[in-house]
Symmetry: C2
Subunit: 145 residues, 2 copies
């Protein structure tokens, strides 16, 4: 296994109250090296040769998300994609944030912008109480033009 920085990954798990196991190390290794959010099947492919059980992978991603190590976002074809909250040398993205969806390659990028600062002018319909907002920008990513 080629791990970017084994002790960094181990710390990341521990900081989030997660036991350090082989499966979690493998999955985390894949996630830290991806600039885009990944699906269960994306991750399975990137683990080829050293795959883990599919249920374990679902549960690993669930645990990561519950402990706020990752967050999930629904893809165009409606399955979950997972992305780290924290990227090395970047500020943590632990608040609600917008996403960029590439309409060509379908990759989804997290945009490190706090939605608080970018509230657009959608008039609140009467009798509806708005508590939060979701934004997605669509277009072409740098890889696709």
């Amino acid at each position: 296994m080629i791990m970017k920085n084994e002790s960094y990954l181990r710390e990341l798990l521990q900081e989030h109250g997660l036991k350090v196991t082989l499966a979690r190390m493998k999955v985390l290794d894949v996630l830290v090296s991806s600039p885009v959010a990944l699906s269960h099947s994306d991750i399975t492919h990137r683990l080829e040769g050293q795959e883990i059980d599919k249920v374990t992978l679902y549960r690993t991603l669930g645990a990561f998300t519950e402990k706020k190590l990752t967050h999930k976002v629904a893809s165009k074809d409606r399955n979950w994609l997972y992305a780290l909250h924290i990227h090395e040398n970047e500020p943590a993205v632990d608040h609600d944030h917008a996403h960029f969806v590439c309409d060509s390659c379908e990759k989804i990028y997290c945009l490190p912008v706090n939605t608080e600062e970018q509230t657009p002018v959608i008039p609140t319909p009467v009798n509806f109480i708005v508590t939060s907002r979701e934004y997605r920008l669509h277009g072409m990513c740098p890889d696709c033009h």
Copy 2:
């Protein structure tokens, strides 16, 4: 079958280049009388006693959407919900628009607001070309507070 306005429904189908069939009349009847977007299973329940085949229902919803009679929006649990573009005595909503998601009952309402007209302050990341936007407001709907 209790149809609100049989000839109105028939016209709606014809205006959108759709053959008038029993299955389509039934489904359209359900859709015109719903203020919220409905899933395949929602519609099946509302058709109880006079259900149509599940594949036919999928294909009916697909045809409606292709012909721009309806549009679809992904729900929180990531299955498709369908809503009419046109509601009686209301202007057609054939542009991109925002949606309101009730976090209590999970219903999704179409907001008759053109997203083009909303110019939010989401800074476009460098090297990304933004062509369209998606907005969702979350909170509580009138039925839930």
